[in-house]
Symmetry: C2
Subunit: 333 residues, 2 copies
């Protein structure tokens, strides 16, 4: 578990997109960030107060979170200087970079000297067990997509936020590095060894109050041949009570797979539900989340209405419309 609150390190991010982890923290857990740290030439700004390491420390920050991708996969000397200073004045570090903090000898030495933690959230920090399939208490919701990167994390985050706003018991359960950095804990599922994937999901979503909902972050797609095994582990390890179908309607082909087309929503519904019922016979599909970012203001409502009529399920874009109707559907279960 990563200690909060954070100071968000934006480094020399060339543009806003490079700082999407920091932006996610600011959007979904603003209480986790006391400020942002930008270096000369930084082209990103997540819209919170600029602070020095010392100012943020005085404001209570415990961890410097690298909220930006690094260029060329190298931790530059300029970054290194800041990271070493941060350790020196008492920060932990957290990173989702491909190259690991723990592989940098100077950071490791400094952290050992100061008793600081280095969190590489791409790497599992727990020895997960093989899944036992036992029914757990509490409720679970999982978004499954027609493709990768169609808004599954956003959907879960938005439903969790809406439930908490309503005073319902709810936890977002991250399975990727962005989500883990946002909330401070989770399972980097794509880095878990095959035999332990479903067990890692069981670990992620333990027994809970009967009226508590876990929103498990989805990964991949049952129809994406590169990652479908990871998705399967979520469906079976998560034993969801509710599925949300996630879709992006303007893709020419499956992400990264030019020869593959997205399934239609009926195929996704039938496949995902049949598989989910293996682990939880009472599972239901409760709604559809569409990422309409490439549809105009004139188009998107018509599209959603058409899907809703065809599928007979509440169909929303949670970014444009909020997740209220999806939460209504969960609450009605």
């Amino acid at each position: 578990m990563i200690k909060t609150p954070y100071l968000l390190f934006l480094g020399d991010a060339p543009d806003q997109l490079a700082a999407k982890v920091a932006q996610g923290i600011k959007d979904w857990r603003p209480e986790n960030a006391v400020g942002q740290f930008r270096m000369d030439g930084c082209g990103a700004d997540v819209g919170i107060q600029d602070m020095t390491l010392e100012e943020a420390k005085a404001a209570g920050a415990q961890t410097l979170v690298i909220g930006v991708a690094n260029r060329g996969g190298v931790i530059s000397d300029a970054w290194k200087e800041v990271l070493l200073q941060a350790i020196d004045i008492g920060y932990d570090l957290a990173s989702g970079l491909h190259n690991l903090l723990r592989d940098e000898a100077d950071l490791v030495a400094a952290a050992e000297a100061k008793g600081a933690q280095l969190h590489d959230v791409r790497v599992p920090s727990v020895e997960y067990l093989i899944a036992n399939g036992k029914k757990r208490t509490g409720k679970r919701c999982l978004a499954v997509g027609t493709d990768c990167s169609v808004g599954k994390m956003y959907t879960g985050m938005a439903m969790d936020a809406e439930m908490r706003k309503r005073g319902m018991k709810s936890t977002f359960r991250p399975t990727g590095q962005t989500g883990i950095l946002i909330t401070g804990e989770g399972v980097p599922l794509d880095a878990v060894v095959a035999d332990f994937m479903a067990g890692a999901v069981e670990y992620l979503t333990p027994d809970n109050d009967e009226d508590h909902w876990d929103h498990i972050e989805g990964q991949g797609s049952l129809f994406h041949v590169s990652y479908s095994g990871v998705t399967m582990a979520l469906v079976h390890g998560g034993q969801p009570d509710a599925l949300v179908l996630a879709h992006e309607p303007t893709r020419a082909h499956m992400r990264g797979l030019p020869d593959y087309q997205q399934p239609d929503l009926v195929d996704l519904r039938d496949m995902a539900l049949a598989l989910a019922k293996v682990a939880n016979p009472t599972c239901q599909v409760i709604g559809i989340s569409v990422n309409t970012q490439h549809l105009s203001d004139d188009e998107f409502e018509g599209y959603l209405a058409k899907v809703e009529e065809e599928m007979g399920l509440p169909t929303v874009d949670p970014f444009r419309q909020g997740a209220g109707r999806l939460v209504d559907a969960l609450a009605a279960l």
Copy 2:
């Protein structure tokens, strides 16, 4: 790739079952084994010539294969003595043990001094890529089970042996440590990191002649919640042209999961075929392989006939009847 032929190390195996890896090599690749090495008190015998390390070396053996499980997960002093002698006179070592040869400092030092290879086949030795889903040349067959441990490896081995006997082009492609030790190469799929599972299967079964069949060793089951993600990676990374349904009809529940029942063969057929068609739209289910070891001589033929009539597919126990009818079905595709 493990150098053949082998000397099979049976150690102090308490009984025949403990030597199932050695037995598998003797059954399926007898040409890979020049002899067996048994210690005092060994209760196993795979029925080939007993040899000393020196005799087997003189007969051409290149690798000492640990064909037996070790008690308590510890490489005993008695074993260690033999393994060190083997390295000293020029053997490589190969093992599927949970505890690794490479974690034994004395073996590592001896191997380095002699230039010997230590093969721990439970651990991937290749950095696999993320699957690209590209259609590969050649044909592939995959057994998918109603449960774990229902005879999928045996089915693939038997079909491969039958095809080679007929002069057809065929390769068995192991995905578990027993199969890897038997053939000398393969992918230990359950130890691969989640993101690379399907890519590892693509690596395992590359482009080949159009009339060549890969028999990919199945793992887990789409209906076994602990391992279904691994199975999914085989279905999508393997892009099989043909599926064989594998079943064991006397299970009271799914292996290791007392609260889960096996699916029926119709459910397995429909689910596996629908998923396989994502990667290979021309995939067909060509037959059924039943492990009838718990049915009597009076019972098993009646059972197979009943399944064959219900399912409309060639249904055999390849152990009792050979895999000829399954190969006929492949050849007819």
